[in-house]
């Protein structure tokens, strides 16, 4: 499995080098056999086209937003017999990224959730409304570190 993952991740990286000549994608393997490829914000759509078109990887398991060392990171977890994750570091303070909905309608709810919880704007999303939060929700995106520190609330 692991070798297979690396092979796909390597091929994705090679393909990405062709599409994005001035970007050097980094490839790494995570525990549980997932291969990770790091792509820039404007490289997401080309990377997706490579995944969909060349490798027929179409199952998007989830979109995770995570603040790693103060940088807001989006992780696109794909699966097609093996896991492959695209890591996109968002730029501050825009926090914008193109939407995947036109390619994969299944990304709809995942993007809406990231939008409401982390305040990321998905350019081109047809219906970017909050998914889970109540209509009268006040305050910033609740999962953001900054929002948590501002309110000082802790569940512990």
């Amino acid at each position: 499995m692991t070798t297979n993952d690396e092979r796909i991740a390597e091929s994705v990286a090679v393909a990405l080098r062709e599409v994005l000549p001035d970007w050097e994608p980094t490839v790494s393997t995570m525990p549980m056999d997932d291969a990770w490829v790091s792509v820039p914000v404007d490289g997401l759509i080309p990377a997706l086209e490579v995944l969909l078109g060349r490798f027929d990887i179409r199952h998007l398991s989830a979109i995770t937003a995570d603040e790693i060392d103060g940088v807001l990171v989006l992780l696109y977890h794909f699966w097609e017999g093996e896991g492959i994750t695209l890591r996109v570091d968002l730029q501050e303070p825009e926090r914008r990224i193109p939407t995947l909905v036109s390619f994969l309608p299944g990304a709809d709810f995942y993007e809406r959730e990231v939008f409401e919880m982390y305040g990321v704007t998905f350019d081109g999303h047809p219906d970017l409304r909050p998914l889970l939060l109540p209509d009268d929700w006040e305050g910033g995106p609740p999962m953001r570190r900054s929002a948590i520190e501002e309110t000082g609330e802790s569940g512990r």
């Binding site: 525990p31 989830a62 995770t64 790693i68 017999g81 709809d108 889970l132 569940g155």
Partner: protein, 360 residues
Amino acid sequence: MSKTIVPIGPQHPLLKEPVAFQITVEGEQVIDSAMRMGYVHRGIERLCEERTYVQDIHLLERVCGICSHVHATTYCRAVEALIGVEVPLRGVYLRALLCELERIHSHLLWLGVLARNIGFDTIFMYAWRDREIVLDIMEDLSGGRVSHAANVIGGVRVDLTEARREEILGELTFLDGQVARLLNVVEQEQSLRARTRDIGLLTLEQVRQYCVVGPVARASGLDVDFRRDSLQVPYDRLTFEVPVHDAGDVWARTLVRSQETVESLRLCRQILEDLPEGPTSARVPRRVKAGQAIARAEAPRGEVFYYVRSDGSDSPARVKVRTPTLTSLITLPVQLQEITMADVSVVLSGVDLCIACADR
């Protein structure tokens, strides 16, 4: 005829959990639908960051009221991958046993809910009666009927004596007979088929586009099952079939889930027969190394996804949960097209809604 908006939810006899649908109808014909969720959003992902790794097991078990064990298991597997600890084989087998029992319980529960919603109370009563046997086995194993708290990081805290193993095998044999009889009725019953055929259609292409998982995907001809595809221990040592049907309607989903119940029973039997000797859990170091891990598993409703990031402290820095119901909910606007008001209940039952899962 004029258009009427029929509200279904947040409180409605059809729904067991709060979610709101606005169904626009013209007479009996459904022409539009809208959904609002989040009524049981508990902010579990955020709460996880505030609790320790061990506390999170019990918190994440409460993501879902039906498939609680598979959530805790998947989370533990992610944390174990971060630590780099290997779970003893007996622990892995016992985890899988509970997962499969949970699948049987979930599918029987689903069958009952579907039958109830199309006015077939007899099947509802029979399915839930048989489900009690599974719940009793699980209660005996872990002390809980639904929330088992069986997992610890590094294995399970429950064990089986030899005598109890034989007893459970006996109970499973009885359940085999009951389920076979029930499913025979389900497969032969004309009025059930008349209500579910060609309702809630999803094509293979739509299923792939919407990234649907689990029985709903398998009922549309997509051959996925994470137990088999990810070669997880112990499923790589057990033999089981993955039922796939092509029709893509609620009837196909009924067949898929029925056959999966039978397969799960087979799996339970194999797990109990092959149950290896040894400890049920491994000793784990107190610190979780910094890093990220992903774990996937096949819950009763399909692929459940966990992402855990550790920064080296007592609590995870981020836990992401993606439940299978979320993927089915996206397809509801498609499924709710070109049907009548009476089919709404069939469609909503057919995807096996678990709103608490989807809202987290």
